[in-house]
Each structure stands twice: as structure tokens, then as C-alpha cells.
Subunit: 444 residues, 2 copies
């Protein structure tokens, strides 16, 4: 087995994870609807030898668009554009299993995988957003368990479609006129509780076989979905203990399902970097100054599913606040725990989260950040990180120019891409289709 | 009103419209799954000042993939790639209203429209293909009328979503921290027979306002859909009389619905060009020699929905063959009529269709082809053409280098792009959202 290696994704959250990033001096407020912004960041990340670009998604007009940008553009279109402007970096896009058909998702990601020469990953989400549900004929969010049952079957169907072509089924022999060997392209004839799909897919496999399956979401159902399908996981871990426990739990669930392949655990990591500690703190205060406090209250209230009127900036969270039992967001529990553990007021909590996503936030110098990443990597709390710089592209540029060289010097991060596909970057094998033996038997 | 001008789209049908195009000496059999093939053709067409690239689509493994390529890659991913490699040419992609959700289609095409700076069109189809239906939980094709009712409502919803943002709703004022003026972004609250969609869309309008609506399909229901929504129509016309009558009929239907804007009629046109007539004929015979006859029988039988065993190469079509009443293909009737009118055997019919799509085929020199195009344009039988060269890219290159200059010399085709958007190319106005007056009233 080859040496373990750190993995880094850049999560291009519009102008940056900090809610006021769009107001920073160098930011373009329209960046969130400009594909060139995504291309620019992807190219910087590729210069830094990152594994992949990561794009989140919710098919809805954002919660509080008065105050800040959000994921507006459809991710696969952005990634196709990024693919055209890059050569190596992986391309991971989110698509919801609640508001799509498996045939369309399988085909679109397979097309993108061919277009990028095997650099694609699909981040599977179920979308716990009732406003999004109302864009798709529903009155609200479907129950958590049912969403995840649908997601598991959805992913099963997508994988079966991706594997419906054997390698070599595309013959294209001009001399004989034989184009496709249809004996090596297999209908899937799937019939389940949620989907009935005949197949086969209409595109052949890519250089990496099929897109990498990525999962985000840490509930019990989410962990089961990850255990069943995920090859990389965008997780939440605020302490090394949390990271270690989460990975152990998902790995145990995967083993119990008979899965043996590798899984990369990539917790979210927000960064705010300065040349000195003082510099970093000053940068943080500048962004905090630009942060609209009304947005902060609304965001915390939305996360916890309570009335914003129940929150006050200079008081702690109300005692009776608890993570919503069903349909809750991945970050609800972690946010409450952080507030309680460190006895934070709402204002301190917002400041501590960097107004951000609920992922861990590191404020510091390139050295402290590289040391922290190394410690997490060596302890097994993370195989790498889904990186969310404060402001884009500048926060990413600083990371690439000043943190990446330190990680390379520590010998834990690549100095050159050694493969072409996302599977190559992540150290994942090219999967078999499951049809190989059948055809060999027929041919024998 | 400005002078009427010819419009040309390049319909990139994998290796070319001729069924054996992939076997031609210069062809790459894998071109149909290679985005670079699409990019290459788009760039040639852009050099020729074409209005747009056009991509057909059916979400299914093709009818006879043993013999020939088909539309495999998902069109919007191809078009995003093409957008990244071109500056002016329009990008028209087909997506089915039977196997998608309006919110997803509205958002994906709006994203592509932003990514390409306003060069996108959506070709609305209902997909009369029972194998495709079986990839989406159905047992077969839904009845013609119902498909078109769904399509009309689907397009209504998509347009409402595209128009849910007023121009100027994206404020992005760093000084005040005001990001989106949500008073100028409107939920659509659509509730109809097929869809319930709250909206608004989550992306602002593009430079051209919204994507151009394109329609293909000539049945009565198809004409009604075109009359209601289409700004450009990919039609079938084998004679000028047919073209003139079709345009008059659709324009009359549009007027009766109160529509006043322009509609561009662009019949399909297959071309097979030689330096001399003899050259063109030789080229035709070479492609015919490479054509697998089994495929031809199967294709005609499929089109007419009859048992292939009922067809014989050297006999005419059976007397009792008639266009299928429901769920039939646009070309069924035209194909039967051609065979009867010219008393063709099945072999002659295939040869005459150039083994192709059922659209009109011109075999000749650049001069005869340019003269033909001019005659159709001047008589009003066509506002332009959806061009399908025999072999790609060579058939397109010959057209661009030898036919386009003749059309320019005749003064009917542009020598430079004069605008940036697809609407500019097609002479279509940038549409209003319908919200303008409301906001002005509120502001007054």
C-alpha cells in the first residue's frame, strides 16, 4: 500500500465562507453568478495541486438574499466550464436525490466525467429545505428517513446505470461497420420502492470508470448512506476526537455492509489567514465589522428552527433549544454544543463561527494552520479537508502560496499530480462494472 | 424595421447526418462521446458566422447502436463546454418536458445563459419514445395530447421562473450591505394541472433577458405549442410550398393567441457538397456503400411503427402503411408521402433520404446549394436552416468555406456578428419580465 497522503478540496462558496466576504475591498458582488469567478478559483487551486473543486447546492432562492450571496448557478454547468479551463483538478458537484430523476443525474454526471477525462464526483444530498421542496410540487420537506431511503435507492440506480456499459462495449470498427457491441451493454431493469428504470445508460464509462460518490451529512441515516456508497465524505468535525469517532463509526457501518474499499474523510475547514496572528485577527475584525447582524440572528434561528425573536445578541441560546428531531440540518447539534460548551452569547457564537457555515474555523498564520492540518491528518481525525477560505479568491491564494508549501515540506501533500483522474488523486481504484465475469464466461 | 437576414444553425448530429458518416476516412468513431468534437464544429460554425449550435436529444440508449452513433452526451454539458471555447455563436439545447422538472430546466438553462453571456436557447420537446419513458418509471409513451398539455404548462412555468427577477434586483451595494432587493424578485406561485411551483428562480436574468424558446415537431399539438411559445422553429419542409404553408399556419395560430413577436422558421436541411455535381454524387455513393442496409430497414420500420419483415428493399412501401395516429414521429407522414409521390422502392427511399433524418437533402455544388437557400429564403419558405452536413466536421467546413461566402455575396447573410446574444443574432427583442410596471408604480 502506498503512503497515505493528504487531500484538499476547495469549496467555492460564492465570495467566500464569511457572510460579508462580498463586501471585502477586492470582492466583486456579482461573483456568485459569474462562472469566471469559479474558473479563477479552480485554477488557483489547481496551481496548489488540490484534489478537487467542491460545489454545494440547494435548488432554491436563498434564505436571506438581502444580505449575502448563495449558491445560485447550477453546479454541473459551472463544473463543465471549469473542466474546459483546467487539466487535473477534480470536479465535485452536489445534486439532490429528492428533486431529480436518477437517469438524468447518472447521464449528466457521466457526460461531465467524459468531458473532463474522468475528474468528476457527485455529492449526494437529500435537501432538508422546505422552500426548495415547494419548487418541486411538494408542500414541505419529506420525513428524514424517507428522504434517505429514496437517496439510497437513487444512488443504487445511478451506480447501476454508470456500470451498465462494459469497458470495450464501444467498438467503432470502421472496417466491419460494427459500432457498439450491444451484448456488452446491459439494461438494469431496476424496480424498487421509489424508482423503476430500465436502462442501460446511453454513455460509455469514462477513464476513471465512473464518477466518485461523495456524501455530506452526519445523521444516523446520513452515515448509513455514506457507509453504503460514499468514497469521500464532506463531514463536520470541530475536534479531533469528533473526527476520529465519526470516521470509526462510518468505517464500522461500511464493514458491516461488506464494503472494503477506501473512504476519504474530509471535514469542512474554514480559514482566515494572516502573515502574523495579529494580522489574522485584524482581518477577522474587518470582516466582522461588515457583517449584517440581522442576518446573523436570522441564520442562527433558521438553523435551530426557532423564532428569531427568541434570540438576543448578548444572551446565550435559550435553555430549551434542542436539535430538531426530524428534517434538521447537520449543523444544528454541533452549533448548540459549541455554544453550550464555551458558554457563548449569540454574538460570540456568530463571531466564533466566523458568521459562517458551522464548520471549524482556523484563524492564524500559515504556520499554525499547516501545523493544525498536519496534526489532524496524523491523528486520523481527517484524511484531508474541504477548505472554505474567508474571502475568494484571495483567501485561497494565500493558502496555496503560503500553506501548501509548508504541507509539502512536511511530506504530507503532493508536489505534482501523479495521475489524471479524481480517483487517481484520491487514491481510489477504478471500479469494476460487475459484468466482467459474465462476458468472459460467454467468450470462453 | 431592419432588413430581413438569413439564419443558420449547425445541428451537430454526432459524426454527421449520414448514417455511415462515422465510417468515413477522416471520421473518429468516438466523436459522439468527445466534447472536443462538438467544440471543433462549433468553432468552425462560428468562423462561418452561424447563429447557433443546435443539439437534439433523447434520454435513451439509441434504437440501433450496433450500427451508428447517436446523441449520447447530455446537451447542456456539451454547450457549457462549447460556451467556454467560443464567443459569439448561440447555443441551443434540447430537453424533454416529459422527463424533467421545470425548476431544474429553468435554472440549468438560465445558468448556461449567464455562463455564455446570453447565447442560449432551449429546444422544447415532448419525447415520443417509449424506451426513453421506461428510463423514467413509465411503461410507455404518454398520449400525444397529454404530452403536449404538459409541455405547454412546463414552458409557461419555465418562462415565469426566468422572468421572476426584475432587471436591477441584484443590487450588490458594498457600502450599504444591501445585496438583493427581494421586493423585485417575485415568487411565481404556479399551480396547474401538472405542476405546482412556488419560485422565484434563484438566478438573475442574463444579458438577453432569458433563453430563446425553440420548438421542433409539426403535429397540430406541436404547432399550437410553437404558436404559444416558440421564437424559432426547427421545422420539416421538403418543398417551398410546404415551408410557406407551415409558416403561415403557425403565424396564424400565434396571432390568434395574441402573440405579435417574430418567429424564425428554420427547416432542417441536410447537405452533401462536392466541387462539381459529379464530385457530390461520387461522395454520396461512397457514403451509401458504407451504409449498413439492415439498419436502414430497421429505421424505416421504426419510423412507420411496422414490423421490419413487412419491408423489402426492392419493393415500394406496403399499400396499407399510414402515419401512426398517436405518438407518431414528425417524419412518418413526410416519409410516406415522399415514397408515394416519387414511387420509390425502400432502397431508393433510403438512398433518397441519404439514410438520414427525413429532412430535405441537397446534393450539389456550393453554387447550387447557395442558390437553393436563397430561393427558399426569398420566397418566405424559410427564414434560415438547421443545417445537417453529411460528415462532420468536413461537410461543415466545406459549407463555411464555400457556401457562406456565396450567401454573403448575395447580401442575405451577415459577414460579421453585429450583436453578442442569440436574440441579437435572431433579431429577437430582449423580452420584458412583466413586472416592470408594477415596480414603477410602487416606486412612483
Amino acid at each position: 500500500m502506498s503512503r497515505r497522503e493528504l487531500h484538499l478540496n476547495i469549496n467555492i462558496l460564492n465570495s467566500g465562507f464569511y457572510a460579508s466576504a462580498w463586501r471585502a475591498p477586492a470582492s466583486d458582488p456579482s461573483a456568485f453568478v459569474d462562472v469566471n469567478h469559479y474558473v479563477r478559483n479552480a485554477r488557483i487551486a489547481e496551481r496548489g495541486k488540490f484534489d478537487a473543486v467542491f460545489l454545494a447546492d440547494t435548488p432554491v432562492f436563498a434564505e436571506r438574499p438581502e444580505y449575502r450571496p448563495y449558491q445560485a448557478l447550477e453546479p454541473t454547468i459551472i463544473l463543465a466550464t471549469v473542466a474546459a479551463h483546467t487539466r487535473h483538478i477534480g470536479l465535485i458537484g452536489t445534486a439532490s436525490t429528492s428533486f431529480n430523476d436518477p437517469y438524468n443525474i447518472a447521464r449528466r454526471f457521466a457526460t461531465l466525467d467524459l468531458a473532463s477525462n474522468g475528474r468528476v464526483g457527485w455529492n449526494i444530498v437529500t435537501t432538508a429545505d422546505s422552500a426548495a421542496a415547494r419548487n418541486f410540487g411538494l408542500d414541505g420537506v419529506v420525513a428524514h428517513r424517507e428522504r434517505y431511503e429514496r437517496a439510497a435507492e437513487f444512488a443504487d440506480v445511478v451506480v447501476k446505470l454508470w456500470d451498465s456499459w462494459e469497458d470495450g462495449a464501444l467498438v467503432g470498427d470502421k472496417a466491419t461497420g460494427r459500432f457498439v457491441d450491444i451484448g456488452r451493454v446491459h439494461p438494469i431493469d431496476h424496480e424498487g420502492a421509489h424508482f423503476k428504470v430500465r436502462g442501460p445508460l446511453n454513455v460509455p464509462r469514462s477513464r476513471q470508470g465512473r464518477p466518485v460518490l461523495v456524501q455530506a451529512g452526519g445523521s444516523g441515516d446520513g452515515r448509513d448512506l455514506a457507509a453504503r456508497h460514499a468514497e469521500a465524505i464532506f463531514s463536520v468535525a470541530r475536534t479531533q476526537e469528533e473526527g476520529i469517532a465519526f470516521a470509526a463509526d462510518v468505517r464500522a457501518r461500511a464493514r458491516s455492509l461488506g464494503r472494503t474499499g477506501p473512504i476519504a474523510f474530509l471535514p469542512g475547514l474554514s480559514t482566515l489567514i494572516g502573515a502574523t496572528e495579529e494580522d489574522a485577527r485584524r482581518r477577522e475584525e474587518e470582516l466582522w465589522e461588515l457583517f449584517p447582524v440581522e442576518y446573523g440572528l436570522a441564520r442562527i434561528a433558521g438553523l435551530l428552527q426557532i423564532d428569531p425573536a427568541r434570540l438576543s445578541f448578548d444572551a446565550p441560546l435559550p435553555d430549551d433549544v434542542a436539535p430538531p428531531k426530524d428534517g434538521g440540518h447537520t449543523f444544528s447539534g454541533a452549533t448548540i454544543e459549541l455554544a453550550r460548551r464555551e458558554k457563548l452569547t449569540v454574538r460570540q457564537l456568530l463571531h466564533r463561527l466566523g458568521t459562517g457555515t458551522g464548520h471549524r474555523l482556523l484563524v492564524g498564520t500559515p504556520e499554525t494552520i499547516a501545523d493544525d492540518i498536519e496534526a489532524w491528518f496524523l491523528s486520523g481525525a481527517a484524511d484531508g479537508f474541504n477548505l472554505m477560505p474567508d474571502v475568494l479568491p484571495e483567501g485561497l491564494e494565500v493558502f496555496v502560496d503560503h500553506v501548501v508549501p509548508l504541507l509539502q515540506r512536511k511530506g504530507i501533500f503532493r508536489t505534482e499530480y501523479r495521475g489524471e483522474t479524481l480517483r487517481d488523486h484520491l487514491g481510489l481504484p477504478r471500479p469494476a462494472t460487475g459484468w466482467e465475469t459474465a462476458s468472459e464466461a460467454v467468450e470462453a
